[in-house]
Symmetry: C2
Subunit: 125 residues, 2 copies
């Protein structure tokens, strides 16, 4: 709701429907009708969600006859990822202090992983 880009990005992600839409778009363009199909929701509601994603810069819309296909643009996620990344050291090992984390970092230069390949990015309601 605030006007800064990062806030808009996070706000856009703070809804399961919108995350599912992004997941769907990660497999390719889709029309509003195709996007709305899995949801118990009107087209207009999906259209509104798309508008939120659009003003967050996460999707762009095209025009193909009467269709306005939506396309994923993940670039705003880079800034979001970067922001969260600054906190990685705080969840790297929740029993370690920051100090011992930094020690470990110095010893062997492997600061934890964060994902053993999670295939299911989001629920599909």
């Amino acid at each position: 709701m605030p006007t800064d880009q990062l806030s808009r990005t996070f706000a856009a992600l703070a809804d399961p429907t919108r995350r599912a839409i992004l997941a769907r778009l990660s497999t390719g363009e889709a029309t509003v009708g195709q996007l709305a199909e899995p949801f118990a929701m009107s087209f207009a509601a999906v259209s509104k969600h798309l508008r939120v994603l659009e003003t967050a810069g996460l999707v762009t819309r095209g025009r193909d006859a009467q269709y306005r296909p939506a396309r994923l643009d993940a670039r705003p996620l880079a800034a979001a990822s970067e922001w969260i990344g600054d906190y990685k050291k705080f969840w790297a090992d929740s029993f370690d202090t920051l100090g011992s984390y930094l020690d470990k970092l110095q010893q062997h230069n492997t600061p934890s992983n964060d994902s053993p390949a999670n295939d299911t990015p989001e629920e599909r309601p």
Copy 2:
């Protein structure tokens, strides 16, 4: 606003004040008064922001005399980072298709800015 954890996490991050509070807490515990000091905002408003962060699991509150110090708990950020990480391939090079991204990944195994590891090409979000 929805009740799922990931949505609460993203919603909590979708506000500059709350992100600033988290940044402050990353340097150590702080009381409401200390947290409110940099903002042109009442204590009660900061208290509300803290409540949002608390229900998102991002801060925990203690009790020290009449103070209720807030402490960062970054663990919910891991899930958020993981979710976003699934989209990394889509912003890796916005002019490349996913296919050529995967090609490049295979050729020279160079991660990127944000973090070593977690560039595992998990299959499509």
